[in-house]
């Protein structure tokens, strides 16, 4: 994990360390099993085409967990994720696999965030952030917010 970030070192408008992610058909299969969401919209080509989305789409909740990781990575071992929200505004399609282990070339998604507020409450140091995922074209598909509690240096 990255070096611990401290509340005193954070400023409004600071960038949260970006987190790149690649959705693949294999990742979607793993996510279906691990989350219990077996909607064929996410793995069955014929079903997805019938539903009008072209081909299987990335589960919204998988994107949610990428954004959770964006914040848990940034807040470090001593940080606490207090609040989190996100909306699935646009669809994303996974890369197919080129080999059993390697995806085809294709888009990379970028999870990003920006500090909007820092404040003390109940004796703890809070930081609010806007967070979002950009697809390969730089379009925001999954906007959200997060609040973390960070340790102080003192």
């Amino acid at each position: 994990m990255a070096k611990q970030i401290f509340w005193e070192d954070v400023n409004v408008n600071d960038e949260v360390t970006p987190l790149p992610k690649i959705a693949t058909t294999t990742m979607l299969v793993k996510w279906a099993g691990a989350s219990g969401d077996f909607n064929p919209l996410h793995y069955d080509a014929a079903f997805a085409a019938l539903q009008g989305v072209g081909s299987p789409i990335v589960h919204g909740a998988l994107k949610r967990q990428w954004l959770v990781q964006l914040m848990t990575d940034w807040m470090g071992e001593q940080g606490t994720l207090k609040k989190f929200s996100c909306s699935y505004r646009a669809m994303d399609w996974p890369r197919k696999m080129a080999t059993t282990a390697t995806p085809e070339d294709g888009e990379t998604w970028h999870c990003k965030g920006k500090v909007t507020k820092k404040y003390d409450e109940g004796g703890q140091h809070y930081v609010d952030c806007d967070i979002w995922i950009e697809n390969g074209k730089g379009e925001v598909t999954t906007p959200g917010t997060a609040t973390v509690i960070l340790p102080g240096r003192g």
Partner: protein, 166 residues
């Protein structure tokens, strides 16, 4: 305007689901996200940390103890007890022309870490059902609120999930 047959479900309880949080399930979940955070993977690291044990990624609440076979959605909020409440709500929505549903998003608030070995009780209600007009036609937003309490009766987390019916 949504008909009474749909809005009568507002405020109804979907019931309570008891879930167990297991280390193996935490690892599978973290692997599916491709998240190497040692809190989910490294027992020695986790035990020495302030949490004292492996913790779940925020957003993972374990698996129902009474896991139904053959269900396609197994999040606690999708299993209602009795099952009729969610089923009947879906039928009422379908009868009014809303037959497809997508996950619209979620809000969480976290109060306690969720640890491997925890038993979480998830209690959900249909908080609201709101009709909206969108570019592709009419939609119904169903808001489900869930409270997760652990075996020490502490509130671990709350969630507010939006399902968009169209």
């Amino acid at each position: 305007m949504l008909p009474d047959e749909v809005t009568k479900f507002i405020g109804k309880s979907i019931g309570t689901v008891v879930c167990e949080v297991e280390k193996g399930a935490i690892k599978k979940f973290a692997d599916a996200v491709d998240d190497p955070n040692p809190f989910y993977w490294d027992e020695k690291f986790a035990e020495k940390s302030r949490h004292g044990s492996i913790i779940a990624p925020p957003g993972f609440f374990g698996w129902p103890v009474k896991l139904p076979r053959g269900m396609t959605f197994q999040r606690p909020t999708d299993i209602s007890d009795p099952p009729e409440v969610t089923e009947n709500m879906r039928v009422a929505l379908a009868n009014d022309g809303y037959s497809r549903v997508v996950d619209g998003g979620i809000e969480y608030e976290f109060f306690q870490p969720v640890r491997a070995g925890d038993i979480l009780t998830a209690k959900s209600i249909i908080k609201d059902i709101v009709g909206r007009e969108g570019k592709t036609g009419k939609m119904a937003f169903v808001i489900i609120e869930t409270a997760y309490h652990n075996q020490n009766k502490e509130l671990a987390a709350t969630s507010r999930a939006t399902a968009i019916y169209r």
